[in-house]
Every structure is written in C-alpha cells, then in structure tokens.
Symmetry: C2
Subunit: 243 residues, 2 copies
Amino acid sequence: MRILQSKSIANQVDEILLERIRGGVYLPGSRIPSESELSDELGVSRATVRTALAKLAANGFILRKQGDGTYVNEHIHETSAHFGNLWDLAELIAGNGYQPSIRFLSMERRPATEKEALVLALEEGEELICLRRLFYADQQAVILADNVIPFSLLCEPIEKIDGKLHIRDIFEQYFHQKISFVLTDIRSTVLEADAHEFLSGESGRAILQLQTIFYEKNNLPLALGVNIFDDSFLHLSLAQAWN
Amino acid sequence: MRILQSKSIANQVDEILLERIRGGVYLPGSRIPSESELSDELGVSRATVRTALAKLAANGFILRKQGDGTYVNEHIHETSAHFGNLWDLAELIAGNGYQPSIRFLSMERRPATEKEALVLALEEGEELICLRRLFYADQQAVILADNVIPFSLLCEPIEKIDGKLHIRDIFEQYFHQKISFVLTDIRSTVLEADAHEFLSGESGRAILQLQTIFYEKNNLPLALGVNIFDDSFLHLSLAQAWN
DNA sequence: AAGTGGTCTAGACCACGGC
DNA sequence: CCGTGGTCTAGACCACTTG
C-alpha cells in the first residue's frame, strides 16, 4: 500500500492537463489555452501553471511557441518512455500500447561476485538477495528484470517480500531506504540461453539491456538492476524539445 | 559561424556553477552554498538560482536535500549523456572522456525509399540528400552518422554544405529551418558489412543504434538521422534524480 | 531553534509571431 | 498592434533536517 501524500499544486495542474490531452479535450495539433487563461481557470498563479507546462514540454507532450501559443504534440503516441521514468518498466510497456503485468519468478540468496562487490562497495562474497521478475505486455513475456540487493540492508523477514511491487516500494517497505537517484547504462547485447528461457525470439538476436545502479541520499549504492528486452517488440523511444 | 545570442541569466548561472563543479571549486560529495548565498553572491533572485539548480539536478550533477543542502554528485564522471542532449554525439564522446572530432565521408542525392517517404511525409521517389559522417573519439572511429533530408528543402547550393558542422547548424544555414523537437528511438542491432567498413569490431557484434526524426515548429518532419556505435567502447549512461 | 530546500504568489518587463 | 510565451524579481510560507 502506498501512502497518498498531498501533491503539490503544480503536480496537480500537470495531471489535469495531461488528462485533458489523453482524454481528447485538447486534441493533437490544437492550441491549448494560454498561460493566463489557465491560471485564471484553475485559480493558481501563472508561475505555477508554467511549472506544470515545463514538465509537459520536457516530455514532449506539448510544444511551446513564443509569440504564438502552446500546442499539443501530434506525435505523442509514437513515444514510449519519458525522462525521469526510464526505469519504470510498467510505464514503458504501457507506452507501447500494452497492458503491463508482473510475474514473480524467483528470489535467492548468494554471495556477491567480484564485479557486484565493486559496484555496490561491498566485500567480495557478501550475501546478496537476487530478485528475478518477468514483465508481460498483455500476455507476452517481454522484459526479464533482475535486481540484486545486499542482504545486510534487509529490515523485514525475507518471506514477506512481495515480488510484484514496484522496485521503489520494495526498497521503502522491506529495506526502509529511499532512492535518491539512479544511474542507467543503456547497452546492446545478444539474447543468451539463460534469458532465452523466459523471453521469446531466437537465441543470439540483438536485444537492449538497461543496467541501473540505485543510490540513496548519501550517494551510497543500494542495489543493481539489469533489465533486458527485445526492442523489436518493445520500443524505447523518447521525445525531446530542442532547446 | 554561430550568432551569439545573449543568454538568459539563469543559463549563465547554470554555466558558472557547472564550471565550478568541473573545475573543482565545488568538490564531489561536498555541499555547495545555499540558494540564498548564491543569489546574494551572484546578484540575482533566488528563483533564478533555483532555475539553474533545477537543470543541474535533472542532469545528475547535484543532489538536493530538503532541510539539509545541495551536494555535488560523486558519480558525475560515470555519466556520458544528458537529457535534452541525447542526440549530441560530440558531447557523448566528450562525456566518455575522449576528444571528439568529425570526418565528412560523403554526400549524395538519391530517391527516397518507401519507408523514408512514409516517415518524412513525402512521395516515394522524391529526391533526398544523404549525408554520411564519421565521429572520432581521439583517433578512433566510433560513430557512423547518417542523415537524410529532402532535397526540396535545400536553400543554398549543395556544394556549399560543410559536412563537419553540428546538425543543428546545417539545418539553420543551408535549409533555413529550425528544429523544434526530436523523437529518438534507441535500438539494439548488429554490426553489418556496410558499417563495418568504417567502425572497428568484428562483424555481427551487438551495437547501439539511435534513430532520430527531426521536426520543425509546425510538427512537420524535417529529416531522419541514424547513428550507430559500439557501446562496448562508448557508453550511453544517464543520471536521473528519482522524484 | 535555525537554516535549508520546496512551493506559491503577484507583478513586471521583454522578445516574438500573427493579424 | 496585441497577445503569446520567456524571464526575472521580491517576498511569503511551509516541510524538512540537523544540531
């Protein structure tokens, strides 16, 4: 369960506008009301409206033209990922037009490899929890997601862990840790036997790999994530405002 | 030549702070002056300072902690790309710690394929300009960059085109077009014979491909770009604030 | 308790585009 | 010319962390 924190006004405005875009109130290519009109209508200052509009523009939902107006981007349906959300696999699947779901595969304890110990600032051989999950797009298995976390950080009995939660909630609930920032490496690799067991496609084909390191607020590494998927099925596409 | 437009105060503040971070005035892991101190020192309002800090935080250069302070990210040297700059190949190379340079390979005119015509909203067979360039990291050829642009958009004699310019400047100077936003697809593929001629590595190995569509302000497609590189040499890594 | 970043306001002026 | 978005200011209050 996730506690509902009262969101900032700017975030609420952002959600209202996004809902209008997605709901067809503001049609693709059309001009939306001006900043002053929105601030009047919603009863907030123009600065607050601008905060929300800036977020929408950064993610390519709208295009802003000085001296003219703000327009709904006609190409929003061709993007599947958004900045600040590159690691959100469910959203990536939804952005591709499928219904996302998660299957919990396995959880095991094992000592850290040399490389893992290096990245996580541990002693080699220290115990890790390895979480393996499979993401589905509709009924199709599309993303194999592995996460490794030092066992020493665990605050709750290992049996309690719900493998279907968002990775953020897993950290918060069972490790009492908040993630402050993440570092993601986007790589190209080939589908190997190990993963081929879960993902479709012939072995040896090119696939995308997202390697993520999670850090807490004091810049200490919390965990590693490796997500692989076939990008001929699931597209990783980003919209960016140019300036 | 690029006209120097006087930059906004917020951008200037951003540059000053980034210079201090890169120059070691603000050391990795250390706390930088508070917003009030910076606004006093630089003689700008706190809101302007915050605009600059928000940009730095979005790109992972700094970490902000409410009730505590703002800290220089210790892991900035592990990132090579930044949001809003995913298409800037020279910066990607520099972010990996190499000196970038460009070699102009070829420019030819040919009719559009069916797929190109579809994406660029042209008739099949309409004439295109194909620009092929090679990016170097120090002395090593690392990125093969192809761009195709409708010939009908060209405003200057084709012989004048300087193939070593930034793609943005090519559009501005020879096509009199400003790019408003871009849509980038990140894909995994294998090194084929065609490209293998220019890039090192054995044929058949997995490489990254960035496919970009450039749009002008009225949402009309301007051009296509395909950039491929070996991600075992050049890493595509992004830092993101979580929240 | 003091200081930090987070949020919001009201108002001002500018640069640009369309009419 | 007018309305748009772009920038900046000065000030206020809140939420949070640390000592």
